[in-house]
Symmetry: C2
Subunit: 374 residues, 2 copies
């Protein structure tokens, strides 16, 4: 009954000439993205007095977005008839940069067309071209702060995670050390840059690869103090010989782990008594095998960090953090690196829309879909 | 040179008729207890003006004492010539109940012969009959509080650990739950009794065994809310069916782990979001394989607890805690259970002394050596 009623309403809305057609990547059940994702085309009416019309400029494809589609992520979007009258669906994606295109009468003193904004919370669906939002669903940005669209589009997940890991887990002083695996992940790169800004030293672990010297050089240039391959790092005799030379008695108070498994438990061995390891990912898909002696005798704490939960519990603090990161981008502290912008025009047909997203998803890259408009 | 000089001094001391001969279990290198332990016989002079002469009434054999002898424990006693002029040695044992036998002139207004006391810190050597101590090395007890010597002799390690686990890890309210493995360990039994006293519910995991119903009954009678064998507990379908019926929406905020390995990571799955697991032992000799989703999405914290470190960092609080536990014993809240008292007379020869300790060590039991005097 609901589907039919909603369909009638939707059809009548679609006939209204003041509506713009938009496209979104949606799903109605959890599963393999190739199987469950589809393109939906839907009309976006003129915004109401208390709404904003927006168009997305760029929407990143984050690993957590893919996990969410697969149904293995604890945060799930509601399935609604908003963009798909045939069956309840969710628009995929959680992060994105949007531009305000029209402002409802009551909001005209606060917003103006052309302004940029990011999402104030998750599960609003960002893999789409256009929608209407209420003002509490977005956080306005100052677009003059951003050297490129990539920095603004990827501001709310990875730099926020890195900032929280550095500043909200344990008290750190200038000169203190942190150690991280997956150091060339987007969070890792942000942590290196922010860490340098805060005066912290870092030991950064990356996977060995053919062009490893080039990657090491890049991380050093961003502010990494020490960069090691996982092979170097797992060589305990070599590490014992060198780690003291690097840290010179400095305290490794903090660890960030997005790999888990043996590398993570090895990291904990080089941390100072009473230090905290914060795990925010598990790229190895392994549990974290904690040596009990580190718990009992070295008093190492093992915590997790989930930025989605932090945001939902601290919405005001999150908004402040977005603006603080905006300023760190403006002043050149933070730069987006290694992300790949993929163009997609709003007039692309449904199949092109789907294919563009699917290719980006399956490349496991750090891709951002950049929507183009005439 | 030092050994020779010390030996001369020792010989001359031994000839002084005011000295009492004492025996101790000592070691001069770390290793297998059977290989490295020996009996030392040494004179104890009359205490100085600012000392107390004491005789040990009962000294438990704790697993950590054995680990210390093996050299696998991070806290190590100093090796000195105190009881062994031939080579630097340490007296084994860290916990013990002693009786004051003589009081130095300056301490007479504070202490009197016959008073009981426990050790104020570790590494003082308690597997011995007699010694002289300074007043800051002991915490006096009120012997009328204790129904038996066992309660007083085992007060400072296991009940202190259980108390700290229950009261100093996370804030708990009456009606909250904790879950623990090794529930019939000495710490586990103390946690059950103290937990009941504080109004907490508990899920207690024990290894399956032939007389398991009897053990379950004992734990229930001490205050356990739920008692499960590890086999019952590892049956996830059965647990999912039952755990909600037991807790009725109550929060499992705290976990105590002395086993580690799979049982410990399984325990964490039944804990409430944001709960803390405190590991204080690793009977399985396995690391703790932490599922990363529990860290990130359930925000479970994994900490360790080491009572030895806590005592050394909080000596005043520790002294208060000893006296608080004394009162909990006096009022019947806490009872020592399942410990085995083994008699040993101070006049026993060196071989009997050694054999008695070695047998107790190798039985891995909860043994207390009870020293007898004429």
């Amino acid at each position: 009954m609901l589907a039919t009623n909603t369909f009638r309403q939707f059809s009548s809305m679609a006939n209204n000439s003041s509506k713009t057609l938009a496209k979104a990547i949606v799903y109605s059940e959890f599963g393999n993205p190739r199987d469950v994702l589809r393109t939906a085309t839907y009309p976006v009416p003129k915004c109401s007095d208390s709404e904003l019309s927006v168009r997305f400029l760029a929407s990143p494809i984050n690993p957590s977005d893919i996990n969410q589609i697969q149904g293995v992520y604890p945060s799930r979007p509601p399935f609604t008839y908003e963009v798909s009258p045939s069956k309840p669906s969710a628009v995929a994606g959680n992060e994105g940069l949007l531009e305000i295109t029209d402002v409802g009468e009551k909001l005209k003193k606060y917003f103006s067309p052309g302004q940029w904004a990011v999402m104030a919370s998750t599960n609003l669906g960002t893999w789409r071209t256009r929608t209407n939002l209420t003002s509490d669903q977005l956080i306005p940005l100052d677009k003059t702060a951003f050297p490129s669209i990539a920095e603004a589009a990827t501001l709310t997940v990875n730099p926020c995670t890195a900032y929280c890991l550095l500043q909200k887990i344990v008290p750190m002083n200038r000169g203190d050390w942190f150690i991280q695996d997956g150091a060339n992940s987007m969070v890792g790169l942000a942590a290196i840059q922010l860490g340098k800004h805060f005066g912290y030293n870092s030991i950064n672990i990356i996977r060995n690869r053919p062009d490893v010297d080039q990657l090491k050089e890049q991380l050093h240039s961003m502010g990494a103090t020490v960069v090691l391959t996982d092979e170097e790092f797992m060589n305990r005799a070599w590490m014992k010989e060198n780690v003291g030379k690097w840290t010179q008695g400095g305290k490794v108070k903090l660890g960030f782990d997005c790999v888990s498994g043996r590398v993570a438990s090895e990291m904990a061995k080089y941390m100072t008594d009473g230090a905290t390891m914060a795990t925010y990912g598990a790229m190895s898909r392994q549990p974290l095998p904690v040596p009990v002696s580190l718990l009992i005798f070295k008093n190492i704490h093992f915590h997790g960090f989930w930025v989605t939960k932090w945001k939902s519990e601290h919405p005001q603090e999150y908004e402040k953090l977005v603006l603080e990161i905006q300023e760190l981008i403006r002043t050149g502290v933070l730069r987006s690196a290694n992300s790949k912008l993929i163009d997609l025009h709003e007039t692309a047909d449904g199949k092109t829309f789907y294919d563009t997203f699917l290719n980006a998803i399956e490349q496991h890259g750090k891709s951002i879909i950049q929507f183009r408009y005439d």
